[in-house]
Symmetry: D2
Subunit: 188 residues, 4 copies
């Protein structure tokens, strides 16, 4: 397995300290696990991609009830300080849900020698799922790390991830815990 780590939408607007928004609270709750994942991945030389919403205010998705967030060029669209991206990481602005949509992510991943993507971040049922399933469509093995992804509450996250456990897509798509993933890659 040659994994690349994809961290979806862990941007400042989604992780504001002190906010009581459920997406923020749940998102902040996975920060320690993500920090551990990044630390171990750096030791092993796995490439790391921060895929970050980078919207325009005119974007169609803001015609619903969503407030503006993660707008291109604003601080809110930057990776959260807690995750401390390095110059060797890839920052990939994305315009819609999937990190593959209108981006060159598939080409980059192949350039980096990856055959597997490890998808993490928020939210499980939209951007994480879309990136995971789109990864399959681009011929990558996919692992979703359940305790490194979140939604507005834990029931919703589980309900979403349960759809992809033991599905017909297994083992091309697997849902795993962080510790199971780290065990698997440490075994080589």
């Amino acid at each position: 397995m040659k994994p690349a780590i994809i961290v979806v939408d862990m941007v400042k607007d989604n992780l504001k300290e002190g906010s009581r928004h459920p997406v923020v609270l749940e998102g902040r709750a996975i920060l320690p696990n993500l920090q551990k994942l990044l630390e171990e991945s750096r030791k092993k030389g796995f490439p790391i991609v921060f895929a970050c919403d980078s919207f325009l205010k005119e974007d169609f998705i803001f015609r619903g009830k969503d407030k503006f967030y993660s707008i291109q060029g604003t601080e809110g669209a930057e990776v959260a300080d807690e995750l401390n991206p390095r110059p060797t990481d890839t920052i990939l602005p994305k315009r819609r849900f999937s990190a593959f949509f209108k981006t060159d992510l598939a080409e980059r991943l192949r350039g980096l020698g990856a055959d597997t993507i490890v998808v993490t971040g928020i939210t499980a049922e939209v951007c994480v799922s879309m990136t995971a399933l789109d990864g399959l469509c681009h011929d990558f093995y996919v692992i979703v790390l359940e305790d490194c992804t979140s939604s507005q509450d834990k029931e919703r996250r589980q309900s979403c991830l349960n759809l992809y456990r033991n599905s017909t897509l297994y083992p091309l798509l697997r849902v795993m815990t962080l510790s199971d993933f780290l065990n698997e890659v440490s075994r080589g």
Copy 2:
């Protein structure tokens, strides 16, 4: 609302009469609703698109436990007879989950004057969800018709659709029943 109807993967391999496979049984169970939807949509002149898996045996998705199905050029990849496509309908072979993936569906829909897609078919948690969310990404309003879509069982379907009810994507993305949809369009 200028809707186009998208019928996902209602192909012969997924709907074989007599099969006991849960996807087939659940898929056949929505045939009457789909027939009604198509009949009413034809009366109103809504464009109809049958998006049909059209795989190659070498495709990555067959490296898991899935058996070959809906293979390009085979009868199994054709729209099920029960849905009786007309020459004015669009048959759109697709190579992966979303009907928008490596196809010209967005361009076609704009050519047809549609601003809304009504997504139906199988399975709720993979091809239907991906097509629905991808539709949003291509700037279409999206309606998923819950009683015109299926999965391997009803719990899984509900569990999936519940993720998108009253989400932050509402009302860009709505989950509705067939009769609510028909009422809404008959009110004009």
Copy 3:
């Protein structure tokens, strides 16, 4: 070199016997070379793709002075009888100039094991060039066979191909004659 042969827009509407249209006359003039190319390629097991315009009448490109041609579902959009496609060949309907535009050609070629595309057909300065340069963009080596491609006259064809001879893209992109290509592949 693992070449795949791409035959661009050699469809009935572009090759009507008896027509005096310059594109038709020049297109028919390359039929014997294309027949030879296909025959030799079949002997060697090179995959063959017929990329064929498959337009809708509403398509933007018909808002200029072009008359309707190669319309989806019409006989005019079929591969010319003289080239006699086999069931093992790939017929790839395309919606715009490049054979890669909104199609799965790159994925198919990788599935077929090709690392090089050999581009032929009409017209040199639009669909052939676009397909050739797009092939480079999708990380394939590209050969344009000068005597298997045509335009509305030979000067225009040469003028176009001269732009890509000994350019900075060489040797990723090469312009060759049919006989040079056949010599190169027969040497192994």
Copy 4:
């Protein structure tokens, strides 16, 4: 006409003062015309997009004889100082020839209300042509400004642009001078 101005690959690596490379010399020669175009376009409120090669060293196109240039994250991949981009302009990193390839340019242009792209920059026969023809494929009217585009020499530029003058794509695709364009838009 609602034009957007696309300036292709006018990056520092392509425009180094003092260089004797023919692409640089010819590129620098169009700077005054581009400055005039940008000034007039700003007065009229036309959106301006700088589409800039943003390569990785591993990219396929460097497997030929091209030296590394316009590498992502380097100063050489920035817009040339002489063109002085403003915060309201769009800087669009691109990974291949066409400014539409794996980018969201088409969506952005629609968001900006543009129906026409005015293509300028370097080089005429590769990135400018590809962007122009790809613009047509994305349903935009296209104008190539002949005296705002360059190649390694003027003959090659002319030879390329002549292919698209009075072609069957006219008037969807037009080749014009800067002054003709400014006259046309000042007439309203």
